[in-house]
Symmetry: C2
Subunit: 295 residues, 2 copies
């Protein structure tokens, strides 16, 4: 049994924490951040009133919060985690945040003698509930090997990608590819439909060849059927592409099609689609073509 | 045994014709178009001196030529196929040409009473040799059902997508997705590498999740290793994206990321890369980033 401070029990964090509790670990929540989940408290999770107090009790401090500023706040603000960190403890940031800021955050944590892993996930709420998340980890091999049993309670496809930052870099790379593969399928299906072919039959014919992808299978089907309930919300993918685009700017490089996909997500938001599934990017292409693939 | 006039015995057409001959069919070549393959002639293929003369002898006339003007020339020029077409014959265009012109070409052929199928392929020279081509067919169900045994001698993943033109539309959709998935992997790996991660490990970590695709598997490996011998040449993918972009213009729609990928292929050609494998599109992204992922 390991004692784990878990900060950020939203749509993703709550089921992840629940899987850790089911595996026999002692959870500690701080209700300064958000209310502690009542069912997990009823099953024995402790509740304290600051990130610092939670970290004092725990061997692992897991963060699952919206973005870079929230990670910095939980760790480094007054009554934050860093005030009590010491050797033997490990901070695991499973949020999706800036890969570039992560290197600085990791260095500050390690100054205390504690370990740091960046370990963002993909797979969404369903993956979190089913303990089937993909987990992309950055950090030392020793810290990774020690934390692996905890990751295995929450995910399935778990990889140490490199040093601190590499997990977040890998997550951004994942979100670039998923967005651009969605955009690719959208352009192809709108072209096919506007040219007179049945997009459902085109998608099926393409699934046997080099055009095949998880996105053609999953998001392509959503486009053909018009099932745009999330899923993964456009506003969350916009946040991830902002990490890519601001990161690229800081690195002095350009990501032309990522910028284009972000523009198309922005166009969806103007159509009222911030809460649509990201496969609804096709609606922006349909607007440009003045043509819907769903007759 | 069926008698088949086969026009266009280049890198793709020659092994396709050879597979038809091995399956027991009688081939007829016209040496007006290109020299008849000597080995197939030694095995019993006939040689005549015009497309018209070849068509007079054959139940099926298969075309495997570079682009739309060559198809029109073989069919409709003086001493062309159309001069002798009659009911009971079928023209199968397996070239990759304009989907929009294909509808006109099919209508002109059908005026003679003959049948028409557009049946472009993907899978490249290796797929042609191994009878493993993906074949995307447009035409009537009856003509498709009758020709299917011939397709099965040349390919594996064979689909009737819709009426005439739908095969060519599907091929263009295929080439849009493959180009844009290559571009996606290129942006992601250059970003990851420039941000300090190992692109090989990032690619491996991504292969278990929603970013996975045939392109990440096959072309992603080429990018990481820098093996850019074709494969599928950039100049051929440029031709296919031109069909997409000119088709989109004719249809009054835009394909923003297809245009961007074409610009990046153009940049590769300026670097001397018209004969590189299309996965070398990453070199254009590397130029923009002033960074190679291969140390």
């Amino acid at each position: 049994m390991t004692t784990i401070a878990f900060i950020g029990t939203g749509i993703m964090g709550k089921p992840m924490a629940e899987n850790l509790q089911k595996a026999g670990h002692q959870l500690v929540f701080s209700d300064h951040y958000n209310p502690a989940p009542a069912d997990l408290v009823a099953n024995g999770a402790q509740v304290v009133h600051s990130a610092k107090a939670a970290a004092e009790l725990a061997e692992y401090i897991i963060l699952m919060v919206p973005n870079t500023p929230q990670v910095e706040d939980v760790l480094f603000s007054e009554n934050g985690v860093a005030e009590v960190l010491k050797p033997g403890q490990t901070v695991i940031d499973m949020s999706s945040i800036s890969p570039i800021e992560t290197k600085t955050i990791a260095a500050r944590v390690k100054e205390t003698g504690a370990e740091y892993l960046d370990a963002p996930v993909s797979g969404g709420e369903v993956g979190a509930i089913n303990a089937a998340l993909t987990i992309m980890v950055g950090g030392s091999e020793e810290a990774y090997a020690k934390a692996l049993p905890l990751f295995e309670v929450m995910g399935k496809n778990i990889n140490l990608v490199g040093d601190n930052g590499a997990g977040q870099i890998c997550k951004v790379a994942n979100q670039i590819i998923v967005a651009l593969n969605i955009e690719a399928v959208a352009e192809a299906l709108v072209f096919a439909s506007k040219a007179g072919a049945d997009p459902a039959r085109v998608r099926e014919a393409l699934m046997g060849g080099f055009a095949n992808s998880k996105v053609l299978e999953v998001h392509g089907e959503r486009m053909v059927k018009g099932t745009f309930d999330p899923g993964f919300r456009i506003q969350l993918h916009q946040k991830d592409l902002n990490l890519a685009l601001s990161g690229a700017e800081a690195l002095g490089m350009s990501l032309p099609n990522t910028q284009s996909a972000q523009n198309l997500f922005d166009a969806c938001v103007k159509l009222g689609g911030e809460g649509w599934d990201h496969s609804a990017l096709i609606r922006a292409i349909e607007e440009l073509a003045n043509h819907s693939i769903r007759q």
